[in-house]
C-alpha cells in the first residue's frame, strides 16, 4: 500500500514539470535564460531523453535526496524544505495537541451529559468549527488579539530583537536547549494564534467523533454492568468507556494530521509563518516547479508516514487488531 502510493505520488510530482505549459528546459532554466543555458540545462537534466528514462534519473536523484535547485533562489530544494520543515512541524504539532486535548474533553463531556445545555453549546461551537474558513478565523484572531487588544504578535515566528541561536529549527526546543528564556517566551507568544487557528477544524471534528463514539460505547452492556457494580461515574467514563471509544478518534486524528498540513498552507500565509505551506504557495505563484515538486513529494511522504503511524497505534490501543 505504501510503496505504490509513494510511487504514484512521485509520478504526479515528476509529471508536473512536463504537464506545465512550455518547454521544461526553459522552465527549469528560468524565463530569461539564454538559448545556450537552456540547451545546457536540457543536456544536464537529460530532458532530451525519453520520458521513462528521465523519470528513472529523476527518481534516482530524489532517492538520494537531490530534488534539484529552486528556480527562485538557486538553492537546493531539499535544503529549502528541510530548513522550513521544523517550523511547519512545530506549528502542526502544537495545533494537534491543542485540538486533541480540547476536542476530546469537550466530546467526552458532551457525551456524558447528552442533551444538556453544555452538550448543545459544545456541539454548536463544533458545528461552526467544521464550517470555519481557517484563513478568515486566522485574520479575526489576529485582528482581535493582535491589533485591537495588542496581547499577541500578529505574524512571524519570533521577535527579531531577540538574539537566538538556531540548532534544530524547533524554536521552543532550541530556546530550552540554550536556556534562552526570552526566546522561549517569544516563541510561545508567536505560536499561540496560528496554533488556535490551525487547531479549530480538527478540534471540532475530534469533539464530534469523540461524542458519537462515546455515546455508542456508553450504551453497551458492560457499561451498565459497571454502573450496577457501583463503580463511580468518573471511573466508568474516563477509564472504561473512554478507552473503548478512542479507536475511531485515533483514525480521525490520523486523518486530520494530514489535513493540518493543508490548513498550514493557509495559516502560514495569514500569519507570515516561515514554513513549507507558505513556501509551496510562493513556489506556485512564481512557477518554481522544482520547489513545487519537492513540496508535493514531501507532503505526500509525510501523509503516508502519519497513516502508517496511525495503523501501528491501533495495535497498541486495541489488542484485537493484528496485522499478519
Amino acid at each position: 500500500m505504501l510503496v505504490p502510493v509513494l510511487l504514484g505520488t512521485s509520478i504526479i510530482a515528476f509529471s508536473l514539470i512536463h504537464l506545465a505549459p512550455g518547454d521544461p528546459a526553459r522552465t527549469i532554466a528560468g524565463q530569461h535564460a539564454s538559448q545556450k543555458t537552456i540547451n545546457a540545462t536540457r543536456e544536464k537534466y537529460g530532458l532530451d531523453k525519453p520520458l521513462y528514462v528521465q523519470y528513472g534519473i529523476w527518481l534516482g536523484n530524489v532517492l538520494r535526496g537531490n530534488m534539484g535547485r529552486s528556480i527562485a533562489s538557486n538553492e537546493y530544494v531539499t535544503k529549502e524544505i528541510l530548513h522550513r520543515f521544523p517550523s511547519t512541524f512545530e506549528l502542526a504539532l502544537s495545533a494537534m495537541v491543542l485540538a486533541i486535548l480540547v476536542g476530546s474533553v469537550a466530546g467526552i463531556i458532551s457525551a456524558s451529559k447528552q442533551y444538556s445545555a453544555l452538550d448543545y453549546t459544545f456541539m454548536g461551537i463544533a458545528l461552526f468549527g467544521v464550517s470555519m474558513p481557517v484563513f478568515w478565523l486566522g485574520i479575526m484572531l489576529m485582528m482581535i488579539f493582535g491589533v485591537f487588544l495588542r496581547w499577541l504578535p500578529i505574524g512571524g515566528r519570533m521577535d527579531i530583537a531577540i538574539s537566538f541561536h538556531r540548532i534544530t529549527g524547533f524554536y521552543i526546543l532550541d530556546s530550552i536547549i540554550t536556556g534562552n528564556m526570552a526566546g522561549l517566551l517569544s516563541a510561545v507568544r508567536y505560536l499561540i494564534l496560528p496554533s488556535i487557528a490551525l487547531a479549530t477544524i480538527p478540534m471540532a471534528t475530534i469533539a464530534r467523533v469523540t461524542r458519537s463514539s462515546m455515546l455508542e460505547v456508553l450504551r453497551q452492556d458492560f457499561i451498565r454492568t459497571e454502573r450496577a457494580k457501583g463503580l463511580s461515574e468518573r471511573v466508568v467514563i474516563y477509564k472504561h468507556a473512554m478507552r473503548n471509544a478512542m479507536i475511531p478518534v485515533i483514525t480521525v486524528i490520523g486523518l486530520n494530521f494530514g489535513l493540518l498540513l493543508a490548513g498550514a498552507i493557509l495559516t502560514e500565509t495569514v500569519f507570515s509563518w516561515p514554513g513549507i505551506g507558505r513556501y509551496v504557495v510562493t513556489a506556485v505563484r512564481m512557477r518554481d516547479y522544482p520547489a513545487v515538486q519537492g513540496c508535493v513529494l514531501f507532503f505526500a511522504f509525510f501523509f503516508v508516514i502519519v497513516n502508517l503511524i496511525t495503523d501501528i497505534l491501533y495495535i497498541y490501543i486495541d489488542p484485537r487488531i493484528h496485522y499478519k
Partner: protein, 293 residues
C-alpha cells in the same frame, strides 16, 4: 407503482420538515441563492465601479459617523461597497462551488460505476488512482493542479472538481457494489437486459441517495476551497468580487483599524458553508439513516 413513489416522496418531505437543522440549512442556502440571482437588483452599488472611487476608500459602515450613505458595510481599499461585492460575490462563490462539484460528480459517478459494476482490472486501476490522490490533502492537490493548468477562477473550479473526484468515485463504487448483488439486478440479468440498461435504469437511480448527501457536503468544502484558492491569489483574480479574494485584498488593512472589509466576506463564507453542512447532515439522516455518524 406510481402511487407508491408518491408516498415515498411525501414521506421524505415529511421527515425533512421535522429535521430542524436540514430546514435551517436549506433556508440559508436559498437565501444565498436568492442573493446571487438578485444581486443586480438588491445590491446598493456596483461591485467594481470604474474608475475606482479612491476618495471613498476604507470608510466604515453604518456603525460609524464617518459612514457614506448607501454603503452600509463600509468600503474596501479601492473605495468599493463591501455589501455589494459580497452580494455579487455570492454569485461567483456559489457557482464556483456548483461547477466544481458538478465536475466531480460527472467524473466520479462515471469512474465509480465502472469500477463498482465491472470490477476486476477496471476496479483495481480506478481504486489505485483514487488511493494515490488520497495521499494529498485536498487543498494541496488543488494548488498543484493550478500550478500546472494556471491560475484563475475557472481553472480553480476545474482543479477542485478533479480533487473531489476520488471521493465521489469511492462513494458511488461502494453503493454500486451493494446494489449489484440485489435480486432485482439478477432478475434484469436473467431476462437479458443489457449492461447499459441495467446501469442507467436500475443501478444509478438506486445509488443516488449517497451522491446527493455527499454532494451537498462536498459543495460546502468546495466553496471553502475555492475561497481558499482565491485567498492565496491562485483562484479568482481581481476585480472579480469573490469572497476569498476579497479577504486577501483587505486583511492587510486591519492593522490600520479597517476591520470591516475583511470581516464580512469571511462571514459570508462561514454561513454558506455552515448552511450546506447543516443541510447535508440533515439529508444524510433523512435519506440514509445507516450512514449516521
Amino acid at each position: 407503482m406510481k402511487r407508491k413513489q408518491e408516498t415515498r416522496a411525501k414521506e421524505l418531505i415529511r421527515r425533512f420538515k421535522y429535521n430542524k437543522s436540514a430546514v435551517f440549512g436549506l433556508v440559508i442556502l436559498l437565501m444565498l441563492v436568492l442573493c446571487a440571482i438578485l444581486a443586480n437588483y438588491i445590491a446598493p452599488n456596483s461591485p467594481s465601479p470604474s474608475p475606482p472611487e479612491l476618495f471613498n476608500k476604507l470608510r466604515p459602515g453604518f456603525w460609524s459617523k464617518e459612514a457614506i450613505e448607501g454603503m452600509p458595510l463600509g468600503t474596501d481599499a479601492l473605495g468599493r461597497c463591501v455589501l455589494s461585492r459580497i452580494l455579487y460575490g455570492a454569485r461567483v462563490s456559489l457557482s464556483a462551488g456548483f461547477v466544481a462539484v458538478g465536475i466531480a460528480m460527472l467524473l466520479g459517478i462515471t469512474l465509480g460505476v465502472l469500477a463498482g459494476y465491472y470490477g476486476g482490472g477496471v476496479d483495481a486501476a480506478v481504486m489505485r488512482i483514487v488511493d494515490i490522490m488520497f495521499a494529498f490533502p485536498a487543498l494541496l492537490l488543488a494548488i498543484v493542479i493550478v500550478a500546472v493548468i494556471g491560475q484563475g477562477l475557472g481553472k480553480a473550479m476545474v482543479a477542485i472538481g478533479i480533487v473531489y473526484t476520488p471521493q465521489m468515485a469511492r462513494i458511488v463504487r461502494s453503493s454500486v457494489l451493494y446494489i449489484k448483488e440485489m435480486e432485482y439486478i439478477e432478475v434484469q440479468k436473467a431476462i437479458g437486459s443489457s449492461n447499459s440498461r441495467i446501469i442507467f435504469r436500475h443501478v444509478l437511480p438506486n445509488s443516488i441517495a449517497p451522491v446527493i448527501v455527499y454532494g451537498t457536503l462536498m459543495l460546502a468544502t468546495a466553496i471553502l476551497d475555492c475561497a481558499a484558492l482565491g485567498f492565496l491569489g491562485l483562484g479568482a483574480q481581481p476585480p472579480t468580487p469573490e469572497w476569498g479574494a476579497m479577504l486577501s485584498k483587505s486583511y492587510s488593512y486591519i492593522v490600520s483599524g479597517a476591520w470591516w472589509a475583511a470581516t464580512f466576506p469571511g462571514m459570508a463564507i462561514l454561513f454558506s458553508v455552515l448552511g450546506l453542512n447543516l443541510l447535508g447532515d440533515g439529508l444524510r439522516d433523512i435519506l440514509d439513516p445507516r450512514l449516521r455518524i
